[in-house]
Symmetry: C2
Subunit: 237 residues, 2 copies
């Protein structure tokens, strides 16, 4: 399923058009491989079909910041009219994704306004997620940041049916989490242990378990509204 469908009520023609797109070739990459590199550009948009990917930016001196995660169904690389992309996208796990020529996508958007708006909406939500990260990095403590990230990812996974009960597959290492929350791996490790000691989450064998969602939500000041979750839908998805 395409994340876009969350943002619009699709007519059968819309759905047919989307399915047409998803018949485009599927590319597979191994964990760690790069999808598209900062400073380059290619006239295609992509839809992640399976696996996790992440966006990051490098600094000239070797530091790097992860600026977002991509989950199955996410549309990305919609860089219409931009000279080049400003960040790198790489596979965190083995992934597969569809590649749709930009021209084909643009033509479709002209014909189907509904799709066009859904694509815009997808970007707006990505943007809202980034703003929440800005609040995390600017104002929240390392502990709160990590908690917030766990809540974001768990909520997004729930929306696409990739959780079971209070747990979900979770391929991020402490190093990845450190690069996303803007702390050193050493410090992240300590914070991680605090969380465990507080019986908020358990993370092992690439599986995340949310032990006390209410308390975690409060501590991290997490409010899912920015993810455009209907308040009921998250419960019964």
């Amino acid at each position: 399923m395409l994340a876009l469908e969350r943002y619009a009520r699709f007519s059968s023609e819309d759905r047919e058009a989307v399915e047409g797109l998803l018949r485009s070739p599927l590319t597979r990459l191994r964990a760690g491989e790069t999808v598209i590199h900062e400073g380059t550009s290619s006239p295609v948009i992509r839809v992640l079909s399976s696996g996790w990917a992440y966006r990051y930016k490098d600094l000239p001196d070797g530091r790097r910041q992860i600026v977002g995660f991509l989950l199955p169904g996410d549309l990305f690389n919609l860089h219409i009219r931009l000279r080049e992309v400003d960040h790198t996208i790489a596979a965190l796990t083995p992934i597969s994704f569809h590649t749709i020529p930009l021209a084909q996508f643009a033509a479709l958007m002209e014909r189907r306004a509904n799709l066009s708006q859904a694509a815009l909406c997808n970007e707006l939500v990505t943007s809202a997620i980034q703003r929440e990260w800005l609040v995390s990095l600017g104002q929240r403590s390392a502990f709160e940041r990590l908690g917030h990230l766990f809540m974001e990812l768990f909520t997004r996974l729930k929306l696409i049916g990739m959780t079971s009960g209070n747990s979900c597959g979770f391929p991020l290492t402490q190093n990845d989490l450190a690069d996303a929350t803007g702390v050193t791996p050493v410090h992240l490790n300590r914070v991680m242990q605090d969380m465990r000691r507080e019986k908020l989450v358990e993370l092992r064998c690439k599986r995340l378990q949310i032990l006390d969602e209410d308390r975690l939500r409060n501590l991290a000041m997490f409010d899912a509204a920015y993810l455009q979750v209907r308040h009921e839908s998250i419960e019964y998805q």
Copy 2:
């Protein structure tokens, strides 16, 4: 002029359409007043006509993070299909802005694909700016962050002809800068003094002067590519 025009070559019909939009009523607000509040929603999009505005998010416990600045010509509030906006927008100086009914704007976008793509592109650049902020907050020191912010704003102001030589009007207080860079006002003051001592910038009487742009750019690791600046255009704009 509308920032949109940077992102597409407009036909005369396009331009006419845009000018039609800009004949919409102009609202004036005093410094400090709120344009739209987080959690609310209104079926309009807006174009800042004069003055500076800023986007911010509040935390339940009173902390707040500025997540972006709006300059004359910027289109904002394009929250098509979103339940509610996730952040507040307020005037930093006295401002005036156009308000365009969303329905009217959406109809126009359906008719003029070029405009539609320019609007999307505008969002993509906003998003790219946010990612650069994420790198600042996550990886750069307070000094580098502040330098980067100065470079961003100076560059954007240059693009709209609001600089003269190496200086520009600059209404932000140290408090605002602290809320944008995620440090305390006390610390921001210290960093500000370092910059002055280093003869990098001078900020007084609401006027910013870039004393050594090359060195500032290097120290802050600033590369204007993400703002979609053609390398020449910034020089001769």
